[in-house]
């Protein structure tokens, strides 16, 4: 079956512009995560959605970052007034449910470059 898909695969933007990154999780997966992978670093948790519950935004680095998940499926991560330090690979993952031993399946990521 289809895995997690993300678009665009690459995004180059000028400092100060807003960007939107999209994630299509695996059909039927209720849990969705966003992570950020900076060069030479591990993955940093950003935000989590579970069904219709309020999202866990505890990992968002600033109020310039926001995310939404429409209809319990597709998610969009928005970064406003981008800064050079926002340059990273943004990864989305989904799982059947949060908790237990449900595996998180990752998409290929969106490489964001802020010039």
């Amino acid at each position: 079956g289809a895995g997690v898909s993300q678009s665009p695969s690459n995004k180059v933007t000028e400092k100060g512009k807003d960007v939107e990154l999209r994630c299509d999780p695996i059909s039927g997966h209720t849990a969705l995560y966003w992570y950020r992978q900076s060069l030479g670093q591990g993955l940093e948790f950003l935000i989590y959605f579970q069904g219709n519950s309020a999202p866990d935004k505890s990992g968002l680095p600033s109020d310039r970052f926001s995310a939404e998940r429409t209809g319990g499926s597709v998610s969009t991560l928005t970064i406003q007034r981008t800064q050079q330090e926002d340059s990273a690979v943004y990864l989305c993952a989904s799982s059947l449910q949060a908790g237990g031993l449900y595996e998180q399946y990752f998409g290929p990521g969106t490489r964001l470059t802020v010039t």
């Binding site: 997690v4 995560y33 992570y35 030479g40 670093q41 591990g42 993955l43 940093e44 948790f45 989590y48 579970q50 866990d56 505890s58 990992g59 990864l91 993952a93 949060a98 908790g99 031993l101 595996e103 998180q104 990752f106 998409g107 290929p108 990521g109």
Partner: protein, 115 residues
């Protein structure tokens, strides 16, 4: 605060050799320890995982050794092959039922297996 420390940062092994990657953690609430493999341009993929109630888990050429008292765990790749060349991340998960239970990742190890 880096809660999972991974070493080495890079590793070069001859074909047929053993690759060993180590991780240490601080948070005793972690209750699930997966290892992810990531190829360039791809998202991380679950390789093998262990719970802290066992000291070792083996799947094919991949083995996790877990030392709960030392708060350390390691990945051993036996008979390493050039196709194993990738970045490996250890991770740990915690959180009560119903929470995000997001993964906390190590910083990654770039493994190169020479032919």
């Amino acid at each position: 605060q880096q809660q999972v420390k991974q070493s080495p940062q890079s590793l070069i092994v001859q074909k047929g050799g053993i690759s060993i990657i180590n991780c240490a953690y601080e948070n005793t609430a972690f209750d699930y320890f997966p290892w992810y493999q990531q190829f360039p341009g791809k998202g991380p993929a679950l390789l093998i995982a262990i719970r802290p109630d066992v000291s070792e888990k083996k799947e094919g050429r991949f083995t996790i050794s877990f030392n709960k008292s030392a708060k350390q765990f390691s990945l051993h790749i036996m008979d390493s092959q050039p196709g194993d060349s990738a970045t490996y991340f250890c991770a740990a998960r915690s959180g009560p039922a119903g929470s995000a239970r997001q993964l906390t990742f190590g910083s990654g190890t770039q493994l190169t297996v020479l032919p």
